[in-house]
Point group: D2
Chain length 115, copies 4
């Protein structure tokens, strides 16, 4: 079964058991998402750009980064669920659109303008 | 098959075909993620909190929101891949941790402190 | 004297004394700014939209919010300084532009599209 | 005269003339702030870290960056005003706190942990 749907369903149970759906309006969930993106950014802010991948191979940073990536995904999946949007489907369709929008022979090796 | 792994693999092909891996260091990808979260926030900023779900049922807002959710996921998946972190696994483990950390009988119906 | 310039100058001294200018490239400073915006968002995420102003009148939330607003401003001022941009001047000019762009008799009482 | 107070006062007039105060609850203003931070991030995301300062010296990027910095400041000032918090005062006090918290002889030349 799809792991995004599995995660969505587990989050529904988690939320319902705690009666937290009352807090999960879209604007609040986006603020929560922003909070987690902020925690992710803080882990990287002072790392040299070309050393970041290597540094994240070591603990405890590796686990910390994994947790923040997870938190961002959790709120994103929850937000899509509240909005009744199929996140996995939306992502695959978006990627198809980008494939058309950025033809290989036109953009190869060049930084995209806001890809 | 896992849709997060499917998406990760399609993004690898998309990126390699365009020779864009050179731009995808972690700090740059986080900035791109922030850009997409910002576009998502802009779609909701002036909506009344209690009307947001209903408004997003109508086009063209519905498609716009789906695209921004997709963009956030795309950069999140790409970032996890560059960092060699299994995003789906991290999310399921994080949710298990939260289940322990927030016992139902202690937190039921109360807004969590930075859940 | 202008308080934005005063703050900029104090931040220069603070940074130089600690030899931290080496970390203050624009992308790193934006990630630091994102981190502080995230902390600000977390303070508000689960508050009811129409109760937020009242809740922030009470301590300790009031001081916490003040600190996060301050942190955002500090990194914004530092970023503008590194980029050699006059932040106060840019803001006043932007506001003049918005005054022209949003004529009172056209937009009065209507939520702006991405104002 | 203080330029933060000048900006705050001009924003009050701008908002009142348009009857937009009704949209300016704190959560909505934070989402608007996030939107502007996202636009700022997009201008830098694919720039090489060590070339960003130089690139921003040239037009049209220079003006675009100035506008986004301005937009972030505008929403930050407006948010502080709605929350009845003196932003300039909060920033100066925060900087004094950081001066104590990060003694020069302990942190000199070392990347701060989430400064």
């Amino acid at each position: 079964v799809s792991d995004l749907i599995e995660l969505r369903d587990q989050l529904r149970v988690f939320t319902d058991e705690r009666d937290w759906a009352q807090f999960h309006d879209p604007k609040s969930l986006i603020l929560a998402l922003v909070g987690e993106v902020g925690e992710l950014a803080e882990l990287f802010q002072w790392l040299p750009a070309d050393a970041a991948v290597t540094r994240v191979r070591d603990e405890p940073l590796r686990s910390r980064v994994g947790e923040e990536l997870a938190d961002v995904l959790v709120y994103l999946v929850r937000l899509a669920d509240v909005l009744e949007i199929d996140l996995g489907d939306a992502a695959l369709r978006k990627l198809q659109g980008s494939t058309t929008r950025f033809p290989v022979d036109e953009v190869r090796g060049q930084a995209p303008e806001k890809a």
